[in-house]
């Protein structure tokens, strides 16, 4: 009876961090403490507010965090508006984990990694980045290119500045779309910034962001000499079941919830352009 995938477990929000004007990061635990379930980097969970609705969210925290899960969520619709109005102590429902994870223990092992994120696109990559930082000796050099509209819209800014920037072998390259007072870093869009930085191609690239940013960044990487088989991304489409049955997140014969959300870019070539 308890393996019914549509029936969720209860989680309690134990901390809410305000990241940007429209992004908050929620810490979720079981009511009796501990994680609701285990996951791998890149996998997702269905969060719901009974009476309001359910939605798919990437799990932002790394599986190496043994105490809780985190979700960085942008306020943009019905369920997310409700989540943003929550206070600590509020219960929500959680089910998962869903989907294929990033191949952190296979294809990524021993390789140099280039993470490229735009805006809230950092949320799914943070799980991978922190997993690779935790098992630091199993991966090569790590580059992180992250951009957003303004410096106020950079998610996880404190963690980036206070932790990621201080790790050996980790280089962080931040950019914002337009000039802003108090910002002396790079200004410009992510795809161009990636080309300017001019990475060598002996690495795996992982992209997440708005569809248009993914498209241009992939093209930029190809200009630099990357092959699509070296580039991974993670997708999002409307989902209700998260288990490949409700019939709406498909791109051609693949279901994003089950066959994705992580895809290698050459796998996307096989699918029609309907995402």
């Amino acid at each position: 009876m308890n393996n019914e995938t549509l029936i969720p477990k209860v989680g309690i929000v134990t901390d809410i961090r305000i990241d940007t004007p429209d992004v908050k990061t929620f810490r979720v635990e079981r009511p009796e403490g501990g994680k609701v379930f285990e996951h791998m980097p890149g996998q997702c969970a269905m969060l719901s507010v009974p009476g309001v609705g359910e939605g798919m969210f990437s799990i932002t925290s790394s599986p190496t965090n043994t105490e809780y899960m985190e979700f960085s969520i942008k306020k943009c619709g019905c369920v997310t508006n409700w989540l943003h109005a929550m206070e600590v102590g509020q219960m929500i429902t959680v089910r998962g984990p869903y989907g294929k994870n990033f191949p952190v223990d296979t294809e990524f092992k021993g390789k140099d990694l280039l993470f490229i994120a735009g805006g809230i696109g950092l949320a799914p990559l943070r799980s991978v980045i922190n997993y690779c930082r935790h098992y630091r000796d199993q991966y090569g050099k790590i580059d992180i290119v992250y951009g957003s509209r303004s410096m106020d819209d950079l998610v996880d800014y404190n963690e980036i500045i206070e932790e990621w920037c201080h790790d050996t072998g980790v280089s962080v390259h931040l950019t914002i779309d337009r000039e802003q007072e108090g910002w002396d870093g790079h200004v410009g869009f992510v795809p161009n910034f990636v080309k300017e930085l001019g990475f060598d191609t002996n690495k795996v690239a992982i992209i997440c962001g708005p569809p248009i940013m993914i498209k241009f960044t992939l093209a930029g990487l190809q200009e630099l000499g990357f092959d699509k088989t070296q580039v991974y991304t993670t997708m999002e489409l409307k989902m209700k079941c998260a288990v490949g049955k409700c019939g709406r997140c498909n791109i051609g014969h693949k279901y994003v919830c089950k066959d994705g959300p992580v895809f290698r870019c050459d796998e996307l070539d096989e699918l029609p352009d309907e995402y």
Partner: protein, 337 residues
Amino acid sequence: MKLVKDLSALYEAIAAVQELYLPVENKGRVDFKLYEAGANVDIKTLKTVRSAKDFFFTQTETLMGFKVEGKNIEVEDLRPEVRPFVAFGVRGCDARSFEVLDKVFLVDPVDTVYEARRKAGTVVTLACGRPEETCFCTNFGITPEAPAGDVTTWLTEEGLYWQANTDKGEALTAAIAAVFTEGDGKAVEEQKKAISDIIAKLPLANLDMTHLEGVKEETFWGHPVWKDISETCLACGTCTYVCPTCQCYDVRDFDCGNGIERFRCWDSCMYSDFTRMAHGNNRNTQDQRCRQRYLHKLVYFPRRNEGMFGCVGCGRCVAKCPSKLNIVKVIKALGGK
């Protein structure tokens, strides 16, 4: 061969051991209903208006409840209790639709509600004495003269011939043994022949399907048929609701006043909000949605399931679409006709 001469006695006998569902006429419309004495059973009408998918995948069902109190939530498992039942008078097309639905609901992770119903149900199929103009099941390898099922039956002038095919079918047969006599089965052979003769003459029963074998998405992606058919599509969703294999569903919450119930209900890819998200919609136009529906049945589903088509040729969409659109037109257009 087992023969039943008194059909009422058969229904009574089955209903005495399990819940019996069978085609019942009500105000000119035939649909599967729970049998009760005096019901206007109609097993001569070829097709029920609704398909038989309700037996295993019901139009709406409550799956869970939530008690919400302040910040606290309690989850309650409200999945329906499933009792053994007999689905009698199912035609070959609908029987195949169960196999199609199995490929969705019984693959990992298994849908436990569907699985429970599938285990609890004994399917008694009925040969299609007189296939109709809208029938095209034979294109999908379905045999309407001897449909697959736990039990296969043939309605002849002598009575109903009965042949058990599975353990479940044998168990049902044993439980109602008293209703059977023996017949020579000649009428069955005659009927099979007669059905084949009708099929040979039906307009849609012998389509050329070769252009659909082993194809990928890109073959038909930019085909003009999507624009053509979507121009008159009303997006009413009738095709998906009468379709025995359409399995898309929605999950929604309902506030009952003293708690929240979360239910699942049929949904339709023909609706504009089916894929709408806060940040946009990846199928914005009706031609994209029509393409999704037909390519799902003819290309996506077969690609995932060893070539098995997601259409069973029941012809309900052919008969019911208010704009006279249907999958047969699409199959023909994709083949250049």
